[in-house]
């Protein structure tokens, strides 16, 4: 009975409800930091880093089989040329292995061995390397023509292990020269100190 007497009219009740709803309404709590934008940037940086590291000719994986010698040079590495890699155990042209190398003692005596030479052990021309370079030269010649560079010669980037005997180095360079490669870029690692 008492309750009925206190009951207010519907408009008054609705007004009271709206008032109370407004009073109790509050901004939603930020219960997590929105870092999506920052992480988007980080994802882009990651992709950029992986791409640039993979494509750079200067990125030479260092391992026991291939450790570049150090130099005090501070110049930018040349990116132009066919990559010839001479590790402790093999020679590669680009990513293709062309020759498995004999032991170091044997290389000091007769380079890569008579069986891999054109005219016996004293010859400097390495036949398997020469064949691979001839193919690379054909491709490079077309590329140089398209780029508007002198197509009569090609360039080579030589990535050689620090322990490579001088004899083998000369054989590789001689073979390159015989295949119309007339400019070489010897890749070294930058170092602060001499030696």
């Amino acid at each position: 009975m008492t309750e009925t007497a206190e009951k207010v009219s519907m408009p008054q009740y609705k007004a009271a409800l709206r008032r109370e709803t407004r009073r109790r309404a509050h901004e939603p709590d930020i219960n997590f930091l929105n870092i999506t934008a920052m992480l988007d940037i980080m994802t882009i940086i990651l992709v950029f880093l992986l791409k640039s590291l993979g494509e750079s000719a200067g990125s030479v994986p260092q391992s026991d089989d291939l450790r570049l010698p150090t130099s005090v040079l501070r110049t930018e590495p040349s990116q132009e040329g066919v990559i010839v890699t001479v590790s402790k155990t093999q020679i590669l042209v680009g990513d293709n292995r062309v020759l498995k190398l004999p032991s170091r003692e044997s290389m000091v005596q007769s380079g890569v061995g008579a069986s891999n030479k054109r005219n016996g052990p004293n010859d400097l021309y390495i036949t398997p390397l020469g064949n691979a370079l001839a193919k690379a030269r054909k491709t490079d010649k077309i590329l140089r023509q398209k780029k508007g560079k002198d197509p009569t010669i090609s360039e080579a980037i030589i990535i050689a292990d620090g322990t490579t005997p001088y004899r083998l180095l000369i054989e590789v360079m001689f073979t390159l020269g015989q295949n119309e490669f007339a400019k070489y870029h010897l890749m070294v690692m930058q170092s602060k100190d001499k030696g």
Partner: protein, 184 residues
């Protein structure tokens, strides 16, 4: 003014309660946080493991045979410096002939011996600077031919090239243009 009844007050309290969003309604976006966590971990891993090495390249031309030295330009009066790396040290040859031990004039013998078990690159630099400075006509010459015994490691050859590159104080260039010779 009329007062609200207890039932109305209860109803108002109930209805004015702020609505909680369901977990899948928060932000209205796909929850990619776990994916991004993985990406961040990969990023940190890559940055930590990739050893950034700075490389450089030494420019050179095809090697020259003993009889046919390739020299791009030979002035009338030139030093024609040739450095032969042997197991015991460096043997230098210039226009006048073999450089004597200790880099003292012309004479037979090894120009620069080993210092202990190490090649003496400091003396090689000094000797090259001395030879270049011996005649003003050699001032513009920047070409040197390097040759070595068959077993000499490539790293030693590179160190010798570095030693011949600049004067001992590192300010003036000496022989920056390198060609390789074939030792028989």
């Amino acid at each position: 003014m009329a007062k609200l009844s207890a039932a109305q007050r209860g109803k108002i309290r109930r209805l004015s309660q702020p609505k909680e969003l369901a977990p899948d309604e928060e932000g209205g976006e796909l929850n990619i946080v776990p994916f991004l966590d993985i990406i961040v971990n990969i990023l940190i891993f890559v940055l930590a493991t990739v050893a950034v090495t700075f490389t450089s390249t030494i420019e050179t031309n095809p090697p020259a045979g003993k009889s046919a030295g390739v020299r791009s330009s030979i002035p009338q009066e030139s030093l024609n410096l040739t450095v032969l790396i042997v197991n015991e040290g460096f043997s230098l040859k210039a226009q006048g002939g073999n450089v004597a031990p200790g880099c003292l004039g012309v004479g037979s013998g090894l120009s620069i011996g080993m210092r202990g078990s190490q090649y003496d690159y400091t003396e090689l630099t000094k000797c090259a600077a001395k030879l270049k400075g011996s005649n003003p006509a050699y001032a513009e010459e920047n070409q040197v031919q390097i040759s070595a015994n068959p077993g000499i490691p490539y790293a030693i050859v590179i160190n010798a090239i570095d030693a011949l590159r600049t004067t001992p104080d590192g300010r003036s260039p000496l022989f920056e243009n390198v060609t390789f010779g074939v030792s028989k």
